[in-house]
């Protein structure tokens, strides 16, 4: 029984996120259904938080197929999107609710 518990604890410990160093936060804002900046340089190979703040009166969904993220940003709120470690390259993102205007790209270097 104790052995099983140890195994279980070990398995759960594996599930915890690796304590890789988190780089500083990066920020983008949504205003008038557009991102500022539309092009943001981020470091490759490290974990970081992309803080997305929505300054509009309506909700937006921060979405990126390439980054595999989809997260609602309520009006007037700022939410963290956990990213990385990314390979160097360009990653497009968009506001799912206003795709005609809300487009941007992350450049990992």
């Amino acid at each position: 029984m104790r052995r099983q518990l140890c195994l279980l604890a070990g398995l759960l410990a594996c599930m915890l996120p690796a304590g890789a160093a988190m780089a500083e936060d990066f920020h983008i804002a949504i205003k008038d259904h557009r991102f500022t900046p539309t092009r943001l340089e981020v470091p490759a190979g490290v974990k970081f938080r992309l803080m997305v703040s929505n300054q509009d009166d309506t909700a937006e969904e921060f979405e990126s197929t390439e980054l595999d993220r989809e997260k609602l940003v309520a009006p007037g709120k700022e939410i963290p999107v956990f990213l990385g470690p990314l390979d160097a390259g360009e990653y497009k993102f968009f506001g799912d609710f206003h795709q005609d205007t809300a487009q941007g790209v992350l450049v990992a270097k």
Binding site: C14, M15, L16, P17, A18, K47, D57, T58, A59, E60, E61, T65, D68, R69, K71, L72, V73, A74, P75, G76, K77, E78, I79, P80, F82, D96, F97, H98, Q99, D100
Partner: protein, 284 residues
């Protein structure tokens, strides 16, 4: 109008396909319509409530409230689906071979219906809150009038309901004898997909380790964002770039549920019918 149509169609389809499977899985069970509609109504009410509190939820738990909430309701749905699979393993054959209105089966069946109604509610809740927020945004902007939004939204719902209905009718073509096996397999895959999504959601909030971000990339072959990709995502948990922990949760759920339904199913087969009734009665 086109924007409303597309977004509404996409989200409603994901929930609708799940409702289609649930309806096929409960074909012939009395009063299932009541339970499924109850689940739908609860889901719509929940979605509106969730949309109203989206701001509070997204700020909760240091900004990962959304992910924790999504993962939690997905895990509840997985438990409910598992319960149904196990119950079907025990009773599916009786339901298929004997008259479907057996009093005992109906009573136990109601519990399984409750579980499936909860799954319907959760599916609608998840996709619905996005629809509500999106349409609210459209309505609030002068860009697109409320009439165009309503027309687009209504069309989107109707189209998605139609496709879901086609899936349901398609499943019913399967002979009753095999229908339970087929829907049980579909529900097992649905549960595995949801377990995978729950794990992926937690990994995306950095709450569990991702065990590798992209085990494979099939986005060029079939993008998760295409309509087919989305439908498969909702039905069997298709992911074009799955993380390791997602695949692990998917596989574990698939193996566990298959084993469980096999075990309960064969146990049922071995015992003569009378004996089984007696043992179940004494167990109660």
């Amino acid at each position: 109008m086109l924007a409303s149509l597309i977004v509404v169609f996409r989200e409603v389809l994901e929930a609708g396909l799940i409702v289609g499977i649930v309806l096929a899985a409960t074909a012939g069970v009395p009063q299932r319509g009541l339970w499924v509609s109850g689940g739908l109504i609860a889901g719509v009410l929940g979605a509106s409530l969730l949309a109203a509190f989206a701001g509070a939820l997204s700020s909760a738990l240091e900004g990962v409230g959304q992910e924790v909430f999504t993962a939690a309701i997905l895990m509840v749905a997985v438990v409910m689906l598992s319960w149904h699979v196990v119950w079907m393993g025990r009773h599916g054959r009786e339901l298929a071979t004997q008259a479907r209105s057996l009093g005992r089966s109906v009573r136990v069946g109601e519990r399984s219906l409750l579980a499936l109604a909860a799954v319907v509610a959760i599916a609608v809740l998840r996709e619905g809150s996005e629809v509500v927020l999106f349409l609210y945004g459209i309505a609030a902007s002068a860009h697109e009038g409320p009439m165009a939004m309503l027309a687009g939204g209504g069309l989107g719902v109707a189209l998605a309901a139609f496709v879901s209905y086609l899936l349901y009718r398609g499943l019913l073509v399967i002979p009753a004898r095999h229908l339970f096996t087929a829907t049980n397999a579909l529900i097992t895959l649905l549960a595995a997909g949801m377990a995978g999504q729950a794990a992926a959601t937690l990994a995306s909030a950095d709450l569990v380790s991702s065990w590798g971000d992209h085990l494979w990339n099939t986005s060029r072959f079939l993008s998760e964002n295409s309509i087919v990709g989305r439908a498969l995502h909702a039905l069997v948990g298709y992911s074009d770039r799955p993380s390791g922990v997602q695949v692990a949760a998917y596989g574990t759920t698939l193996v566990l549920l298959t084993a469980l339904s096999w075990l309960t199913g064969t146990g049922h087969e071995r015992k003569p019918a009378g004996q089984e009734t007696a043992s179940r009665a004494s167990a109660r």
